[in-house]
Amino acid sequence: MTISDSKIKLDIKKIQLDFPILAREVRNNRKLIYLDSAATSQKPQVVIDAQNRFYETINSGVHRGAYYLAELATDAHEHAREIISGFINIKPDQLIFTKNATESINLLSYAFLNATLKSKTDASVDRRLVLSPGDEILASELEHHANLVPWQELCLKTGAVLKWIPITDQGLLDYSKVDELIGVKTKIVSISHMSNVLGSITDIDLIRKAAKSVNAFFFIDACQSVPHMPVDFTKLGADAIVWSGHKMLGPLGIGLLAATTELLDIMPPFITGGSMIETVSMQKSTFAKAPKKFEAGTPPAAEAVGLGAAVEYLQKIGMKNVHDHERHLTKLMVDGLKNIEGVTIYGPTDDTDRGSTVSFALNGLHPHDVGQVLDDMGIAVRVGNHCARPIMDKLKVQSTTRASTYIYNDDSDIEALLNGINEVFKFFGAR
């Protein structure tokens, strides 16, 4: 299906009214044109209200205290878990709240490290989590640093070896290399669902089949996909996926890990302390079952409640509608950029399914300068290496300019960007 076939059913003007920040002015009293949702999304009033209401009416420690408010706070926290787990089709106790997606990935990588360390003295550790020198971890060249550095660290500490699926000169995963990179030594495959730089979507089926053919654990960084398209955990077939709340209209400070019950059962905890234990003596402790096992300390309950409201807001719109709307905007953007002389687009430019994140260069101009002039017109884009330095090296650029959309963006935002780019060229007298 091409974009032109899809109907745009959403009333974007109405949706925009739900986001108070869109009403503010930015530099030079310009209207804000926010095109950096791949970094963090804006929040609708219902999310801000839900979080405020928690503090105004039920604030107290969750999972402790026998008093009325503590019950209400605990209920609200756990209700948010139900909403969010339902959103990706898992049971509530398969969903772990973390600080952010980066912490979620570290939770996974440290489970392997801790299991490997513990295995020397503890026979009950599940051997599947124990890494030996020469074992392999497979990632890809297009990973965000969050899905790369934790694995590098795990390799350094265990003697495992990091391998990666290379990307083509166009920045797409080179699937032809997968078979030779996966073998009996592969213990973990961790790959992003959608590139945060190029918007390209990974062929998850292909990677899963390869990972499962050697019984490797299969993890997905779903930070860019869950907020923008329908995602069903059971259909992905991964052992675990991670993503963040703030990129899907939710508050900052809350990330997520969804995993199979089996994996959650065998993984040792990452962060230990209060709330995650079963019994504690001065000599030793035993741990609670998931999700509590992985949620040490006082949880970000108000943030969880805010995120629950964000998910309900997205469910009302419908994730297919979100994705269709963004496909429409992406086509406008990509076609428009193609028509501007002197612009190079990185990533897919045809009609293949992709996310709304588009990286590009204005030939002869530095992204920082591009971003600055766009900012002067009220247009917020991201400039830099997008925490994905290896892609930059592959594309042989130092950094790119990146525009990304969400449900509150409309055609006029894309037009503003395209006009803005022409202004940038004019300002620097380039081209």
């Binding site: 030079n28 920082h368 002039v373 830099g384």
Partner: protein, 147 residues
């Protein structure tokens, strides 16, 4: 556009025709600095005079935005051949200007074309761009002294 405060003509001129760009083979100290937010990079080489009191030759090579490139070019013009006391004065004046949020009366004797960077100080995200070359030069001098 308010932007012309930042991108003054003199800055764009240095950006388009950088002075002194290109590394010298002979040097006593070298420093390589990277702006981690955008990936801009500069290598600065410094050859001190025999008494160690002045910069006999400074050279640099860099990639980056207009502000970082212009700043390197201006710095070269201002400090090549100067004694270290003058370098320190200029360097401190430049740093003070960049940290001033734009409320500052820069000394043109110390900064030369660098006074045109006052507008950059109003944009916190760009201060690092302007400072990159000066910080690298400072490091390169320290290394040149150490050898």
């Amino acid at each position: 556009m308010n932007l012309s405060n930042m991108y003054q003509e003199v800055i764009l001129d240095h950006y388009k025709s950088p002075r002194g760009k290109g590394l010298q083979e002979t040097f006593g100290g070298e420093a390589h600095h990277v702006n981690t937010t955008c990936g801009d990079e500069i290598t600065v080489r410094v050859q001190l005079s025999e008494d160690g009191n002045s910069i006999k030759k400074i050279s640099y090579d860099s990639t980056g935005c207009s502000i970082s490139q212009a700043s390197a070019s201006i710095m070269f013009e201002q400090i090549d051949g100067k004694n270290l006391t003058d370098f320190n004065k200029s360097s401190e004046e430049f740093l003070a200007m960049m940290q001033s949020k734009g409320i500052f009366e820069p000394d043109e004797d110390l900064l030369g074309d660098g006074v045109s960077m006052i507008g950059v100080a109003q944009y916190p995200a760009r201060i690092k761009c302007a400072l990159l070359s000066w910080m690298a030069a400072k490091d390169a001098i320290i290394r040149a002294k150490g050898e």
